[in-house]
Amino acid sequence: MPTFKLDGQEIAFQPGDTIIRAAHRAGIQVPHYCWHPGLSVAANCRMCLVEIESAPGFRPMSLDVLNWDAAKKEYVPGKKPKLQPACQQPVTEGMVVKSETSPNVALARKNVQEFLLVNHPVDCPICDQAGECMLQDYYMSQQRTSKRMRDEPVHKPKGVMFSDKIVYDAERCIACTRCVRFCEEVLGDPMLDMRERGNMYEITVSPGKKLEGHYQIMTEVVCPVGALTTSHWRHRGRVWLLKGTQSVCPGCATGCNMWLDVDPREQTVFRIRPRENEEVNKYWMCDDGMLTYGRIYKNRIVSARIGRGSTEQATVVDAVAKAVEELSKAGSRVAAVLSAQHSTEDNLCLADLAKVLGWDLFLSAKADWDGDKILRHEDQNPNRAGAQQVSGSASPLPSLGVLASSLGKYTAIVALGADANVNEEALAGLGGVGAFVLLATNKGPLLSRATVVLPVASWAEAEGSFVNAKGLSQSFKRALSPKGDSLPAWDVITRLAKGLKQDLGFKRFADVRAALVARTSVEPTEAKDDLSVHPESMTPRAGV
């Protein structure tokens, strides 16, 4: 691979790379605002200026300048190299670039940063971005001077509702146009635009358009400062109290990588941010994905119940005993329903139990939703492929609809997840089965049909993995402790198995994972910690 030199360090690059991208690949940060690895080059912030000392076929340009000579107390003529934006300058073999080591670059960045803060409001104490703001980071690393301007700063609109999800503050905006470029390039719909120039610039919703669609929150995510904020997180907490956990979105079959930002003191997820993965979601996520943390709290089943339609709480021990009693009566005339919403490990446990007891397997799933060509998959279920994988069957698992039409064969049902993509009639049929053991996280259509309900942990509260539509198996980590009485589903199923005098051989989560790896001979990709390479992930250190 060809190489070039950055601050004396030899760095490999791919043909066509710009300086900043080659450095980014090598895990080196060149300070920048407007450049984003997933967007086109705007080169408007001038923060990434570097000094190119020499390059083949490159004639170093120098400018005539006047330098203040403190001894003579006058300006003396001097020379200064013409600096180049690292985001725009293509790398060539043997190029010698100075970034951190050049005093000219340091001075230029200091001045750029000073101009950016000239009209900036004193907002850090009330700004959601404080703590992960690039203006703050670069103030400390590049500027470190007091304000010189004594005039009243320019005032611009604050708290502008771009949509019900996005709030804009023009005074904090540095006009990097990342949000504008995101809409135009990634979504293909120029919903945002910029008006005026100089001091008066402002991002606006394009004339005749609305900020709408499934990717509004991404405009806030790409914003390097606190100009765009989301209404769901706005003024709700502070980022340095959050701890990021690597997770995978349970919203659809794409399996976007993400950060679950948890406040460990309150054991509460406050927001979700995309996590870079070039193979899956690149740098992006959809709004529904970033709001999936709602399902950890809404419509949760937090205690066990015994009896159809019962609302009385029971202990998990009693409920497991009751379920075991009902299932042992049914013998092998049991339908086991895997879930496309639960992790592969959870499904593996149920499939294993079904296998040793001779139960038939079915699959429950949520109905399709509106997919698109960017990220959203039509299949709303994160793990249809994983459930299929562990069932051991080559043909697709029969759905709940099939089960409803062949109920005569079964005297009991044990189901993972309360979701069901069937009509009312079929549901009523399922409710007619004598014994119905349901292991569920959230309330769903199947809940009222169950005779025994066991609460299980959500994906954020247990370890596990999802297999996405492309067949990529991705693991996620535990971010919270399980709500109420709920336990990880693999644990509940192991308890049921024990009651049914079966030993699945699972004592800890690691046993289930090992069994999964042995069976599929695929190790779920580790949740990557990509802090070192991705500038946008400067933020996960929130809370450090």
Binding site: V122, C124, A130, Y139, M140, R144, S146, W240, V544
Partner: protein, 410 residues
């Protein structure tokens, strides 16, 4: 008729001599700062002793790892709480060494002045308490009266009598008042009058001399092997003083002597401290002259270094400009970014070599802080000093070590 003393054999008059185990402390009022001694007594003689520190352990070093670098200052106040400013300075110097910065001259002199005043207050307390433990209550009250003047002086400068948290990394919390030198000059003679008056009550007092001379002896070899330092080491004849042997701040420019003892007994420790008060006064007087020689407005005439990465911006800027807000925010929320590395910085504390061993892995808080507290090492010598002595001498001997629980147990 009952037998009279005359009828009894001589040996029957002696006290029963069966060995007896006695717990002193940790709640015993004379066991300053909660310490426990398990004594094996043979009559009134101490046959053996097990000295058990740790009852005041608060996990300070561990707490230091949780906070930012600046947030450790209040904890240092609670090490040797009779001379908190010396601890403040010791810790600040350690972090400054790691950062590779040197504070301006005025700041150095203020640190020396406050430090020596603290040392005087430390020695006044130690000597006063030791006298009191021998029954001399008056010198104790007088010396503590003088200590109170020092603390009042500290209060005018730092806002607190005891827990000052006045020093900052790269400077001080706020500049000294304009009359700072005058205040010191006014209080020093008054303190020395009290010292003179108090020593006149003790140094010709037969009881005091008999009960201190030759009591609680410590040999030079033992003191060295136990790692003792400060007055305890110097009383045995070793002239080790960090201010002299490894000068820091402006101590190198001051002319002062290091008093040493001969026998390493309670009397020597008392006298070393007494003389050190006089030497501290010499240092203070010279430092005041240096302090007043600083040209106003010169770079030397600064309290803090000029680096926004270390020093907080003025409050007016924090509240009115974004630059100040960001600077303040970053330093408070993320802390000073100290480069990775290890450092051991030692200074002469009230009780001897006060060392801070700090490991940084970069970032806003320390990875490890270890405090080499001088009285922990002095205390190691304690059992040897007490054994084979009298029970009544335990308290004054223990007092002469000047063990401060907060520093020893941390």
């Amino acid at each position: 008729m009952e037998p009279t003393d005359k009828d009894l054999d001589e040996s029957e008059l002696e006290l029963p001599a069966e060995p007896m185990t006695l717990n002193m402390g940790p709640s015993h009022p004379a066991m300053h700062g909660t310490i426990r001694m398990v004594l094996r007594l043979d009559g009134e003689t101490v046959a053996g002793v097990d000295v058990q520190p740790g009852y005041l352990h608060r996990g300070q070093e561990k707490m230091g790892e949780r906070g930012t670098w600046q947030q450790f200052f209040p904890y240092t106040d609670r090490l040797n709480y009779v001379s908190p400013l010396l601890n403040n300075v010791g810790y600040a110097l350690a972090v400054e060494k790691l950062l590779g910065i040197t504070v301006p001259r005025k700041c150095q002199l203020v640190r020396v002045l406050h430090g020596e005043l603290s040392r005087i207050s430390d020695h006044l307390t130690a000597n006063g308490a030791m006298a009191m433990e021998l029954g001399a209550f008056t010198p104790f009250l007088w010396l503590l009266k003088a200590r109170e003047w020092i603390w009042e002086l500290h209060e005018t400068q730092t806002g607190a009598r005891m827990t000052h948290a006045y020093v900052r990394i790269g400077g001080l919390a706020h500049p000294p008042t304009e009359d700072f030198p005058d205040l010191i000059r006014a209080v020093l003679p008054r303190i020395m009058d009290v010292v003179k008056e108090s020593e006149s009550l003790l140094l010709k007092n037969r009881i005091f001399l008999d009960r201190t001379q030759g009591v609680g002896k410590l040999s030079k070899a033992k003191a060295l092997s136990m790692g003792a330092s400060g007055p305890v080491l110097r009383s045995t004849g070793v002239d080790y003083d960090v201010r002299k042997d490894k000068p820091y701040l402006t101590y190198g420019e001051c002319d002062f002597d290091v008093p040493v003892g001969q026998d390493g007994d309670n009397y020597d420790r008392f006298m070393v401290r007494l003389e050190e008060i006089r030497q501290s006064v010499r240092i203070i007087e010279q430092s005041l002259d240096l302090y007043e020689k600083i040209e106003p407005g010169s770079p030397e005439d600064q309290i803090n270094i000029k680096d926004p990465r270390v020093i907080l911006p003025p409050k007016e800027e924090v509240y009115s400009t974004i630059e100040g807000t960001i600077n303040h925010f970053k330093l408070i929320m993320e802390g000073i970014q100290v480069p990775p590395g290890e450092v051991y910085q030692y200074t002469e504390g009230g009780n001897g070599e006060l060392g801070f061993f700090i490991v940084s892995r970069g970032g806003g808080n320390p990875w490890r802080i270890r405090v080499r507290s001088p009285c922990f090492y002095s205390l190691q010598c304690c059992s040897g000093m007490i054994t084979n002595g009298m029970v009544a001498d335990i308290i004054p001997t223990f007092g002469s070590i000047n063990m401060i629980g907060g520093e020893c147990d941390r």
